[in-house]
Symmetry: C2
Amino acid sequence: MTTRDTRSSSVAIGSHKAYLTGSRPDLRVPVRRVHLTDGNAVTLYDTSGPATDPAVTTDVRRGLPPLRHRWIAERRADGTGDVTQLAYARRGVVTPEMEFVALRENVAPEFVRDEIAAGRAVLPVNVNHPESEPMIIGKNFLVKVNANIGNSAVTSSVEEEVEKMTWATRWGADTVMDLSTGRDIHTTREWVLRNSPVPIGTVPLYQALEKTGGRAEELSWEIYRETVIEQAEQGVDYMTVHAGVLLRHIPLTARRKTGIVSRGGSIMAAWCLAHHEESFLYTHFAELCEIFRSYDITFSLGDGLRPGSIADANDEAQFAELRTLAELNRMAKDHDVQTMIEGPGHVPMHKIKENVDLQQELCEEAPFYTLGPLTTDIAPAYDHITSGIGAAMIAWWGTAMLCYVTPKEHLGLPDRDDVKTGVITYKIAAHAADLAKGHPGAQVWDDALSDARFEFRWEDQFNLSLDPETARAYHDETLPAEPAKTAHFCSMCGPKFCSMKISRDVMDTYGPGRADDLSDDEIEAGMLAKSKEFAEAGNRVYLPLASD
Amino acid sequence: MTTRDTRSSSVAIGSHKAYLTGSRPDLRVPVRRVHLTDGNAVTLYDTSGPATDPAVTTDVRRGLPPLRHRWIAERRADGTGDVTQLAYARRGVVTPEMEFVALRENVAPEFVRDEIAAGRAVLPVNVNHPESEPMIIGKNFLVKVNANIGNSAVTSSVEEEVEKMTWATRWGADTVMDLSTGRDIHTTREWVLRNSPVPIGTVPLYQALEKTGGRAEELSWEIYRETVIEQAEQGVDYMTVHAGVLLRHIPLTARRKTGIVSRGGSIMAAWCLAHHEESFLYTHFAELCEIFRSYDITFSLGDGLRPGSIADANDEAQFAELRTLAELNRMAKDHDVQTMIEGPGHVPMHKIKENVDLQQELCEEAPFYTLGPLTTDIAPAYDHITSGIGAAMIAWWGTAMLCYVTPKEHLGLPDRDDVKTGVITYKIAAHAADLAKGHPGAQVWDDALSDARFEFRWEDQFNLSLDPETARAYHDETLPAEPAKTAHFCSMCGPKFCSMKISRDVMDTYGPGRADDLSDDEIEAGMLAKSKEFAEAGNRVYLPLASD
């Protein structure tokens, strides 16, 4: 379903990289500008970073330019108080990162500051990841998409993971989680961070478990703490912490159909089981907040007890953990640490709204970050679709960021094509939600593409689509000839049956572009007149293609 | 995204064709039975017809056995009153077709009869299509999926179209519309009908236009009538009729972004424009009802003014036509003719419910049959996904049948893989809606697959999935070895990290299968005990694979 394209570093066909400049010369916000054949241009949000800027030569070994280096240094110089974006927002400061985001989302910088201060949005930027282009996650901004990479047990090379990350951002991933668990875990993460234009998230527990040789019961706060600091120093922007899995919650999963399906959740459950003690992530959470605050790492409070099947959706185990996450959310905020809450999982459509409503209520509108949810369990190999349905709905109802699901979910490790399919499916879900939420400016994109479609500007249609290469390739399968791309009919219907063609004849009845200025009576009259001309002209609705 | 499989006539891997027998020996309802490795079996709805029954040798040139031949003959013999299923239902008769459907949907025959009598459901069965296996379309039954075939302007062979139809039903298409417009249109339809186990729908207007050489203004009631009778004699089960496009509606489309996108709608608009007269489909609708009644053809009242873009959704043009369709629906019912109403199109998520609610109210709950709707315009090449989102939602809210959209929508003609992808995407949407509607028995399928997943019964997972071949292929890409299919871990995490594995250890704490009988206190106690054993056993959470 995707056309092969190895040029993840090339700018998308038919569009050009451009920058919006802010209040200072070093504040340049990247955008993708699609130039249309009618002379207009459409400006789109761009996550692909310097890799798609022909003016920048990127070298994986040297990493990306440290965009935010000076901003961070300047703040260190003044050196007053906490360094988190939440702390600055609460002090009334609009940081360059906030201004960057404001330009990116086309809103006022003060609005960005206030949403962060209220805890309704997070701006994940570790002080040690100056390469990242600031972005914001909150229900009052564009819905974001996360893509997971990571070699997992079956190892792939460091270069492959960096390439997957770059590939994911090219198609629109707003953040990337590195879930590597194999060898070279530290090196892989280092390369990914130094080359990533988007915030990087991790699950430190996976690396901590590596250190115990996979023996959950040998995990300890000390091992975990050391791992978090190692990753914090590298520049990880947000970390999933499964601190909500409490000893008393575990029995609640005993009657489930699919028990505990979160790796982090099951590891902590195994630890609690082995020691019959409360989770060290919970008992040491305040210390963890101190560490996160000093680097401005954002919490992604993991839902270790999320449902793994339709049967287990919205059950007591999940909601009990959610109440604990709400408590941890408050504690993190008390430490000026930015926080988002992770969500399910597998949820049938009629239970999705209850799920997001409860999270928003209990967690004081902290950004919800959900995996799907999958709306049915019967379609392995198509779970990007079973979950894309749930993702669009839960985002409409308030989820701020969607974690993508690829066709390989439940079956294997995603390859390049799976990553692309997952990202594009989730960009569709996110944009459908932006439209449903009436996000200002969201419909401009749809309108531009629909205009191009109605005016048979095929090249513009391709270039405005989420995947220009595949759209063009599908069209060419039926009508390969170049003239077909300027033909005034659709390849589905052919010249005689094209409804767009007929429809335009109907519209021309009222004079091109005049309809807006006419009353219905004038239109009616114009129609009668046109019907006469029409007969005189020999009643030709379908003009031969040549005369178009 | 789909694995090539040319055996559209073979029974799906891991399952067997079976039959439920009714009150008479010639009433045999096909089902697909999936035999699981744990000795259980799951019975699934089967649309694939005799082609997947090893006991039947099908020959495309001879067509399928005329399953319903005797039932129709018996009714002709008694010869009292109208022959439509609606007429029988209103007379209190439960036909063999109704009993067939009742067994298929696992409900009482009287319930089927009453839903048809109330006009809330249709059972499309032309008396001249005895090969079809009865199925029902109504919001109180399983959500159905239609697949479009048809060679369109770019011609493909008759055999290809028959193969496409068979292929579509193999993957779960409940009905198939033959939208052929090229040469051999009559022959193609004949072959499709004689070999189709599902109801066949058409848009007679397309063939009528062929007869005028594509000149819409030369269309007439006589040409159209003759075409309808030709197709009725062949056995077409339901026909899309764009009788709701009235002269006065056309000006309402003048201010639209994408005008009229329905081919039928635009053809009728062109006719009205050329003659400045009311649509002959509207003025002759009563005569059309007489014809439909004598063959028991079901009306699918076309939405010729459906929106073609997000910008045009739920506008006055569409709703004005809907009010006309409501009037025609009443007229058809007065003639004992079964009727469903077609719907959009392109609709953003927040406008979908309004659309279906209004249709249900105005059309007295007549079955709604919608195309998608697409929830955004920005993803050509992925419109099976943009529309699968809308389809799942609108079906949850009351749509009875979903017309599929393939990845080639707006771009070209679907090939075999596109047909398969479209059907599977829409089976997902339909099933997700069945779950959300709480359809009795719908979740049995999800539960069976989730049990297999949790118990690492890989083969059962594959065989229970909508597309066993692709699920198996994706798994094998990562773990090709045969033992991997019995391995107690997922290919994503590997043996050490598998959460399912850990989770099962946690569950075993309470004794396999014992959890249901225990109080939370007992579970708590058992957990403490287990944690001791656990320590004594050397705290091994992860057993070596060999010992599994």
